[in-house]
Amino acid sequence: VTMLLDAVEIENFGPYYGEQIVTLPSESGSLILVHGENMAGKTSFLNAIRWALYGYAKDRAGKPIPIRKLINADAYDEGQRRLGVRLRLRVRSSGQEVQLILRRQRQAKQGLTAATADADYEEFREIDFGGSVRPASEFDDYVNMLLPEGISRFFLFDGELLNEYEELVSEGGSHQAQMVQQSIEMILGVPAATRGRDDLEFLRKEVSKKYQREAKLNSSAREAAERLENESAALQRAQDDLAEMNRQLGDRERELRAYEIELKKFSEMREDATRLKDLRDQKDELDVERQKAVRRRAELAKDVWRDVLEPRLRHEIARLDRDLRIIRDAITEADRVESEIARLEKSLTQDTCPTCGRPVPEEHLARSRADLEELLRRREDLRDLADRSRHDELSGALGRLRDVAPAGVIAGIQEIERQMRSNTIAATRVLQQISQVEQRLHGSNPAEFTEYERKRKETNRLIAKIEAAIGTRQGEVRQREAVIANLERAINEQNLPALRRLQIHLDLVKSLEGLFTESVAELTTRLRRSVESAATDVFLGLTTDPLYEGLRINDHYGLAIVGPGGREVLIRSAGAEQVVALSLIGALNRSATRKGPVIMDTPFGRLDPTHRANILKFLPTLGDQVILLVHSGEIDPDRDLGPIATSVRKRIVIEHETSTRSVLREV
């Protein structure tokens, strides 16, 4: 049986003032996104559907919200004392489709204006199945047949399931975990077997009584029949006692587990205290490192101007070097010219050759005079350029500039700043961890530890006492069953014609009771295997870790991640928990006996972008109609919708108009 939502009509419910209607597509694989920021009314939308079906809405702590608080504040201020939700549903089964309309309304009793208590509001329920108006008394029957409350947690997913799921995997068997386990078995169809067993037990007792009454009418069997009747009554009393003792045992065991959880918290608290000290030490070390880095950076910063000036200095030095070289070359040339002039002037003062003593020819003298004139002109040209004082000045300036060499400290400062950034990230992380541990430790009272130890001891003593009493009573039950069997045999052996039919009847009902009893264990085993396989299938599509091989199911339907070599992964992140929980939900939806719209409130809270993308791709396969209530931090329409754009059949935005009013708008 599949149930899908065609439309939701809300009147004065939570932030929704007046009447608001949203229609929803219901083709197979429809993904519907309802966008809304925090406090806009996403959870109220989910609550409206829950309220219409089951008559209650839950607050964040999972407690029912009073009617007075459910009525829209503006409507209440205007004097309206009424709220209602109508669900238009489509029910599909065996190829047929029928429209079902369910409407729940609460209205203040006439004359009541304050109407604060739930009892001040009358309830009206309407039901229309396939165009035929049904009596309001059948409302719950229809809801039970289509989407029983016990399995609603797998359709109306409000994040609370995740916490309940964590209880499941803890193997603690807490009350909450047992509730989830019951819901899972319900969604999988186990009640068909357990109720069959109970019904046949009821019928067996009925036939047995008839048999005893009939046997008593026969003189030869009367004595045995009377004893049989007495024994059966005593057996019933013993069984009732046993059931009561088992109930008490269950209660005590639950208490014990609760104490053990508290005691475990204390042991965790001690670990937390040690961890807190370590974290604070880490924080101190990080602070010291940071201070050192700040000092180092300040020292390096003194010379950083050299590195900043370095390109301009390099240019200036090259220019001065070039100028200096020109002056130096000019001075060398001037010296050479001067010495040549001196040599020529000296030779012109002598008329004869100093070696041979003969007179110097006139043309030689004329050439020497011409050379001298040339050299004198050259000396004149070089006079300004070969400026020795300028040379010394430039040489001094160049020396000073070369002293201002780059320090090479910028890279060092950059490295220190990188270290400081890492330090800031590490310190933030440590601070977050410190805050988490401090929150866990907040309000804990170590003195309670002794009290819990005492309670645990006392409960253990009680459990041992009840177990001993159960053992005695079980012995009595076995004994009486044997006596009853002997008495029945004795009566049977008389082969009385009047009892023949009842004997066959009793044998048949007994064997059928046994058949259903044995089927329960076999059915749950096979269903667990089927859920494990389906969950593994979903999980491998969702996880980003290639080392994970699958999931393994325990007796409580808790799922463990199986890593390399078939070993269970013991430590799981919050994100991994969410992926495992979604795998379980996916598996249950695939294996469920009832299918309905899956409505998830803020499902991506703990997920990184890769997991989110994987889950977005998976969601359209989760059910025929998947409605996601998301805020912009979870799904950004521009960023995240690409891979699933074809599956998104509708987008609705919850607009927060005022602090007391929101509007549902189709995009």
Binding site: V1, V91, S93, S94, Q96, V98, F129, G130, S132, R134, E138, D141, Y142, N144, M145, L146, P148, M186, L188, G189, P191, A192, A193, R195, G196, D198, D199, L200, F202, L203, E206, R500, R501, I504, H505, D507, L508, V509, S511, L512, G514, L515, F516, E518, S519, E522, L523, R526, L527, T593, R594
Partner: protein, 91 residues
């Protein structure tokens, strides 16, 4: 295998019930039929099939009266058949 029945079944006080025998009935029936020869040889496969279908259909119904009434009738019919067959097989 349990046969799928139509969606709308007339039920007590003309109440309309939505039911499908295909709901997990196939697996439960397979198990019951596997166990039957050892645990309940007196019961015929037809009777097991019928009881399974009744329980699957009523699994979410808290009012057990109607289910028990149907089962009672089915078992009584089976007893009549067993007696009849027993008499016929007597020399």
């Amino acid at each position: 295998m349990t046969e799928s029945k139509p969606i709308l079944l007339k039920r007590r006080r003309s109440k309309v019930a939505v039911a499908s025998n295909g709901d997990r009935g196939d697996l439960l029936e397979e198990i019951l039929l596997d166990l039957r020869p050892q645990v309940a040889p007196l019961a015929t496969p037809e009777l097991v099939h019928l009881l399974c279908a009744i329980e699957v259909r009523n699994q979410f119904d808290d009012d057990r009266g109607p289910a028990r009434k149907t089962i009672r009738e089915a078992v009584e019919n089976a007893v009549t058949i067993l007696i009849h067959e027993g008499e016929e097989s007597r020399p």
